[in-house]
Symmetry: C2
Subunit: 240 residues, 2 copies
DNA sequence: CGGCCGCTTGACTATTATCAAAGATGGTGG
DNA sequence: CCACCATCTTTGATAATAGTCAAGCGGCCG
């Protein structure tokens, strides 16, 4: 049976051990031993912190994970999100960001050492792991492009179209998305403030490009326009 | 003897073949055959374009390479620079950005297929290649942090301190750097305009933090201040 | 029902972009 | 060797996008 593990740690960066004195590995080791690997984690829990040694590779089965970093003065940067099907935690030996759940999230945990061995033994798995890292690199470059040159509306459109494409890939409708994250996560991901994100949502709504239900369900009523905005090929609309 | 190859292609994205009809591989094949691998390339030449198939892995021996992308409407984003000692061109099978030389640059070219074979045969080389990709990923995440949350002066300080650290690693003084790139490259790298970059240089100079010689040689006269700015821990100075 | 949290909206500010033009710098050819 | 031209950098004036501060709205949960 799955049990919700409640991790007690805040997202304080530069803390190697959590307030309860348990490392991620130890916390996962105290889960239910007869279901090795599969874990259910509550919302808003920290999976790991920046600087910690990598102890597990996770496969997201359900829910959403948010990756972020903190500057010394408290400014927060969201580097990305992980959704069901994503393999997270591959890369160098130490975590380069914090990871937190945004919802109740089911994860399959593979000890880093075991994963490393498996990668060495199985060339196919090795290729898949390498592909995942390359994909992450491509995503990071795309992220750089989005936040360094796009306007607020282009950034939000790009974000929404990314979710739309993901929906389509998973056999869902690309014409609407469910936002599992709060405005502050979107803002910190796009290098904006919550106010600007909110205003841009309102602008999209007033322009007839989207419809909003409960602030978390977005229906695309002019996806062509949004796609054009997202790819940065719009001359008009806030970039004349 | 090394011969300067003059590549004729512009940095037009989405062009698989260059105006002269030669692919990168063919152009390199037409170099001097008795010195396989080592090539000298003139300044402002394109090594590869975004979308092209990866044909070589290069080791930079001297000079500087600039990686960039173009948006449909002409906006340009610089994703990074490569300096002597850097291995460039590892990653997925297709180039995700353009690569251009900023100076006369000597490169050691290794055919992608040969590199792939070598990586498969030699686990040590494999680990080094994986480490290089992870390093690129870390750098990309750092880049995201810099351009999404730092002010213009913090961005420029971060850029300069990065060069300072590189100097130190190579046994040179960390107290001055030589900029092989133009202001436009710095601007497109930091998500700013040339005017803002120039003004920020002037501001640093007037504040007594740097001295400029010929606009391309920067001497750090208050490196502590610059380091603090770069790490985003400054409350004052354009962020009260 | 009330308080809390997150989202939206408003008024105002400020950092950076844009437009424009005047120095530097470097290379070429007379 | 110098003048001229092209390119790059700096500086100035103005505009605009996004940030900041502040307050009101709405849903959710105890």
């Amino acid at each position: 049976m799955l049990d919700t593990i409640t991790l007690k740690s805040p997202s304080d960066a530069a803390v190697m051990l959590r307030p309860n004195g348990l490392s991620t590995a130890q916390m996962f080791a105290t889960g239910c031993p007869h279901q090795p690997g599969l874990r259910k984690v509550a919302a808003n829990e920290t999976l790991w912190c920046e600087g910690e040694q990598r102890e597990h590779i996770f496969i997201v089965r359900s829910g959403t994970v948010c990756f972020s970093r903190m500057l010394p003065d408290g400014r927060r940067i969201v580097l990305g999100f992980a959704y069901p099907g994503d393999i997270i935690g591959i890369g160098s030996d130490f975590h380069c960001c914090d990871a937190q759940t945004l919802q109740v999230t089911r994860l399959e945990a593979i000890p880093a050492a075991a994963f490393k061995r498996a990668v060495n033994d199985d060339p196919v798995l090795g290729k898949r792991a390498a592909a995942a890292v390359n994909q992450a690199l491509d995503a990071a470059y795309h992220h750089v492009v989005v936040i360094s040159k796009l306007s607020a509306s282009e950034r939000l459109a790009s974000f929404l179209m990314g979710l739309s494409v993901r929906n389509e890939k998973h056999g869902l409708s690309p014409l609407s998305v469910l936002l599992p994250m709060r405005r502050i996560d979107i803002a910190d991901y796009l290098g904006l403030t919550i106010e600007t994100v909110s205003r841009t949502f309102t602008m999209f709504k007033n322009a007839g490009w989207i419809a909003l239900d409960q602030a978390n369900i977005v229906i695309f009523t002019d996806i062509q326009k949004l796609r054009a905005l997202a790819s940065g090929e719009c001359e008009e609309a806030h970039r004349p």
